[in-house]
Symmetry: C2
Subunit: 199 residues, 2 copies
Amino acid sequence: MTATIADTIYARLSQQIITGALPAGEKLRQDHIARAFDTSHVPVREALLRLEAHGLAQSEPRRGMRVTALDPAEIREVIEMRVALEPLALQHAVQRATPGDLQVIDDARLVCDAAEGMPSWEARNRAFHRAILTPCGMPRLLSVIDDLHIASARHLHTHWRKRWRQRTDADHAAILMAMKRRDAETACDVLRRHLRRAL
Amino acid sequence: MTATIADTIYARLSQQIITGALPAGEKLRQDHIARAFDTSHVPVREALLRLEAHGLAQSEPRRGMRVTALDPAEIREVIEMRVALEPLALQHAVQRATPGDLQVIDDARLVCDAAEGMPSWEARNRAFHRAILTPCGMPRLLSVIDDLHIASARHLHTHWRKRWRQRTDADHAAILMAMKRRDAETACDVLRRHLRRAL
DNA sequence: GTCCTAAATTTTATCTATAAAATGGAGAAT
DNA sequence: ATTCTCCATTTTATAGATAAAATTTAGGAC
């Protein structure tokens, strides 16, 4: 578990990209970042490569990396992929969720509804959506969905910062109730509508 | 376009993992590989990181990387993801395919049917499936599907090497015909059946 | 003032060296 | 024979240095 330096750099940079602190198109220069973290540029390179793997940065060989753009076409693509994949995960999750899992989900739901600002709400909303899918037990599927969530999060931070206001999310509650009844079909239907509407 | 050393190492290693020359569980030691490619271990590290990003290797910090396992559960997961994602891509591809695209697909189909051994057939089959989806114009979706294709390819190489024999693939032909008619529904139905059966 | 060329600077990609962690093995204690 | 501990070896992670490519800057021609 001993976190490597590259791990911490990756965590910090991805956070900054998600929240928009590092805007799309920004150049990511190795030794600037290395100085900021007080290391050599080698672990920085590794962190940048991982950003690229998760779709947060793009490299042109010998020209460096820049933060990926977030055009409307890509957002549509992300939504369509989420609509295709998340119901698949949810279906399995409904079958396999233990009472403990359902408790975790309900906690995540309440914490999300209680958020008092866009940034904290976004993180908690993402945690809720992760929680309802985690019980599916399909690691590869979950990791692809995680990357899609990150792309959606970037979009929310850049385009919904103003329009956000606090509210209790009825869809979240409906999904949880359907999961408790082991009603996968309803849960998936609500989720699909929720995704199409939310973005 | 100037390929970096890490690029070539990645290309060669991923090829070896796909064909099974590097079996699941194999340790990937940095300086052994570095010696084999006559470089230092730094570009090797980068190549290994990219293998990890594409699901071909797994790292435990400070313990090195090993080639990922291919258990039956993961294979099922890959199939379910393909069944969810490839019809989505195909639907868009059917709408957007140009006559030139359709020609490329037909060429890929014929080349695939003409393959005379399991390894060359696998590569050509993968090229065909890539070709029918490429016109969708959704780069993120395509890159996820590419990784799924790679996982399927590993499975074929390790478990179907014996059972393979030459034949002309009727499903491939049916998909292409439906695409020419712009009949997305039929194309997707055939593809779904094809995927469920083939693995 | 604009455009082009060439030197200066910056930045990436790679190499060599080093520190720290993990693995493997030999010998001692039980 | 088995287990434990300590040392030697291997291997990973990071640092610092270097070469090559790309970008910027400066100066001159028009």
